[in-house]
């Protein structure tokens, strides 16, 4: 359902910066493109918050229901990635434009149709690392925040790696929830885990060598698993 109150008929935005950006868009592309861009903007405004000029969490919820996707679905995260959205729960106009233009989607229907292909694109190994790392950064909500609490990490892991490496994620989440040494996870550890899933044989961990540069948390994880197994 669209937010009726925020529906704007014209493409004239309230801020001047937007209009100059608009000009740029128009001048840079052709007429058809201009049309597309206009529709993209319109779509944006149908979800955005009037005062902030951004799509906020509430807007995103609407968007999700229109897309018929759960807002906790990983595809929304992928969409955010496509947009290179900086702040979790918010899309700026720039980001929206970037994302939808790349997807060639200027209507909800097209956007919805673009989702499966987006997923494929993201899941390509070359892109997935980037997406994975983006996912972490996306959750850093505070200004100087560098790490994420265990609870959230567990959810994020499920979301992002749950389908690809279900068993590893399962075990690691178990470990994270039972251990007491770590209260937060940082980027280095986060990335380490992805490498771990890709390189280390499971469930025996035969090729794992703790004398190499694996993050310490993974050394501890492997020890924990091994002692559980014996």
């Amino acid at each position: 359902m669209r937010r009726a109150s925020s529906k704007k008929a014209s493409s004239n935005s309230t801020t001047s910066t937007n209009s100059s950006a608009m000009d740029l868009f128009r001048s840079a592309t052709g007429k058809a493109a201009t049309k597309e861009l206009e529709r993209i903007d319109q779509l944006f405004y149908s979800y955005s918050n009037e005062s902030s000029g951004m799509i906020d969490p509430e807007g995103i919820e609407y968007l999700c229901s229109d897309l018929e996707v759960e807002h906790t679905d990983v595809r929304i995260l992928m969409l955010a990635w496509k947009m290179q959205a900086e702040k979790q729960g918010y899309f700026t106009l720039e980001e929206w434009r970037k994302g939808l233009k790349a997807l060639h989607a200027d209507t909800i229907v097209k956007l919805k149709k673009a989702l499966p292909e987006l997923e494929n694109e993201v899941r390509r190994p070359s892109n997935y690392v980037e997406f994975y790392s983006y996912a972490f950064r996306y959750c850093l909500t505070e200004e100087k925040q560098k790490s994420i609490d265990i609870e959230s990490i567990c959810e994020l892991l499920e979301l992002v790696l749950g389908s690809q490496f279900p068993q590893q994620v399962d075990l690691f989440v178990q470990y994270l929830k039972t251990q007491v040494d770590y209260k937060v996870i940082n980027m280095d550890q986060w990335m380490g885990f992805y490498r771990f899933c890709n390189e280390i044989s499971f469930p025996d961990f035969n090729n794992y060598d703790e004398e190499l540069a694996w993050p310490l948390i993974l050394d501890n994880f492997v020890d924990w698993v091994k002692s559980k197994q014996s």
Partner: protein, 787 residues
Amino acid sequence: SVTPLSMSQPSNNNRKRSSTSSSSSYTSPPSSTTTTGGPHFSLMKKAKSQAVSCSFDNKNGFQLDNNNNNNNINSASQDPSSMIVDPTENDAVRASSAGGFTANLGRKKATPPQPAKKLVIKLLKAKPTLPTNFEENTWAVLKTAISSIFLKQPDPCDLEKLYQAVNDLCLHKMGGSLYQRIEKECESHISSALQSLVGQSEDLVVFLSLVHKTWQDFCDQMLMIRGIALYLDRTYVKQTPSVRSLWDMGLQLFRKHLSLASEVEHKTVFGLLKMIESERLGEAVDRTLLSHLLKMFTALGIYPESFEKPFLECTSEFYAAEGVKYMQHSDVPDYLKHVEVRLHEEHDRCLLYLDASTRKPLVATAERQLLELHITAILDKAWILLIFIFKFHNINTIGFSQPLTSGFTMLMDGNRTQDLRRMYTLFSRVNALESLRHALSSYIRKTGQGIVTDEEKDKDMVYSLLEFKASLDKIWEESFSKNDVFCNTIKEAFEHLINLRQNRPAELIAKFLDEKLRAGNKGTSEEELEGTLDKVLVLFRFIQGKDVFEAFYKKDLAKRLLLGKSASIDAEKSMISKLKTECGSQFTNKLEGMFKDIELSKEINESFKQSSQARTKLPSGIEMSVHVLTTGYWPTYPPMDVRLPHELNVYQDIFKEFYLSKYSGRRLMWQNSLGHCVLKAEFAKGKKELAVSLFQVNAIQLKETVEENASTTERVFQDRQYQVDAAIVRIMKTRKMLSHTLLITELFQQLKFPIKPVDLKKRIESLIDREYLERDKSNPQIYNYLA
């Protein structure tokens, strides 16, 4: 033993002799008797003149028939001249020639010199022929003689005739058949002699004596026969390579028939083994009999197979059983003594009756059964020994839970080191030193662990360790003959045990030294103190986390210096120089700095007293002394907010004024927590005597607390962390990029304290987090330095 027979070498003797008796000369034909024949006869004459007198042991029953035409031989025959002869020897038989020559000389007739005659020799037309049945008849004579010898009966024929008979046959090329006949005759007698032993005597010793007798007789008889047939031995036998000497032939026959009468051989061996076993069990046995019979075996060439082999097997079984039995019933010292005794016995056995070649395998067998197979058991039991020694020194042996056997009550230290020495010696004989060494290592580690990890005994730890080390050193010297490898073992084990518990031993050693260096140690001479310091230094050497020691030592030294509690500055300096030698000057720089500060402070105080500030501004009756400490040398003291009385602040300022006037550009910071104020209030006089020197305030910091110690340790760890971080950054800055494993290696080389790879990883990750480093994008094993 075999009675010897003496024989002559007539040809040699006669050749050398320049004799007027032509009958004894070989070259010239005898002039006193006419020759009617050719050379044969003269030779026969020679043989005749070679009549030799012999004397025989009467027990053989052989007697010379003396009714020949040689009266002189008679007299000679009663002359019991005989010499020792080795029956295996073929040559070099010497004569008792006296009889022979007197005989020969007796033949001489005194002849006056005659004018030269012309001799005409006419050759005979026909060769002289042998009488008929010459061979048969000649042999018959010999056969009878041989038979008599074997049957121990008197023979009608005299020796001369017998020699003649042999000669005759040999000369007529009948040596071969003579040999065969002799062999056959001997064989029949030898075999019957041996067969007669079958079924003889149940009693083994009696049986063995019979065997011995048979052998003895055989030797005597064979010698005699060989004596008679000497010419055969010298000529035919020598010329025929495939034929044995007569003596050897006899031996071979004896051997053959002994093995045919197999029951006899086996019974003999069995008897010998039984005798030896009895001797081992403590009975007295006839060693002479053993010796002779074993010599028989050797002579027959069957010693290794027939005797030695079963003997060694028997020995092995005997000592196997004995080893097991004794190990169960005796304690280790007694067992080892017993082993030593047994090995001596076996050695002696080889000297007394066994062949020398048996010694090596025999001793090896005994060693194997008594020692090698029991090494583990001996070592297990041996812990008792070591415990005894240490208990004797009241060394804490907690942690060692094996039960002590009885017999522990009365122990002289000396006994036990001797027992250990015996063990060491015996073990080295069977190459078991490695087991002993290994067991020693385990023992030291286990015992040491008990000393080091028992928290309740912390206050005695250093003392116990010193005692423990001293005992080990003594044992090393006295029992383990200063073996280098053992020395290293003790060192390694000590190093291991002392580092089992991080930090506490280092702390306790520093405290121990503090006690020793503190004044009030009455009765410790300078030498004793030096000795103790050296011993403590040995322990210190084993510690891996030396920086912990340094922190505590520094703290305690500071207290001693500031409170004036050092027993002797010389001892303090001696300790510093020992530490310097051990760890390098970097370790001791600061400590030395502390000493400098103290001395400098004395000078400063002197000049302060003389200074204008002191004289003018400081009230009289105030004695103030100040220690000026250079920061960096001294331990850092936590800042404490102590509010001094106003007057004291004033005095401090006076001093400060004085000091800064002398040394510009410096900053003085009062460590009030170290201030010590002695207030002597004599109320009657109302005087106040203030001595303000920087000591620890008793009221505020009474005794050092556990917290203080913990914080000292904490600070050391903190400091270590900084050091690691600094090292990582330093290395990465230089290398720009480095693999994880190489970085770890570098760090281990550079860091002087023990640290685990886990801790290093922690610091690395912390530095990644703080963005000093990053993992390389393409290779996660590599770190990049972030400028």
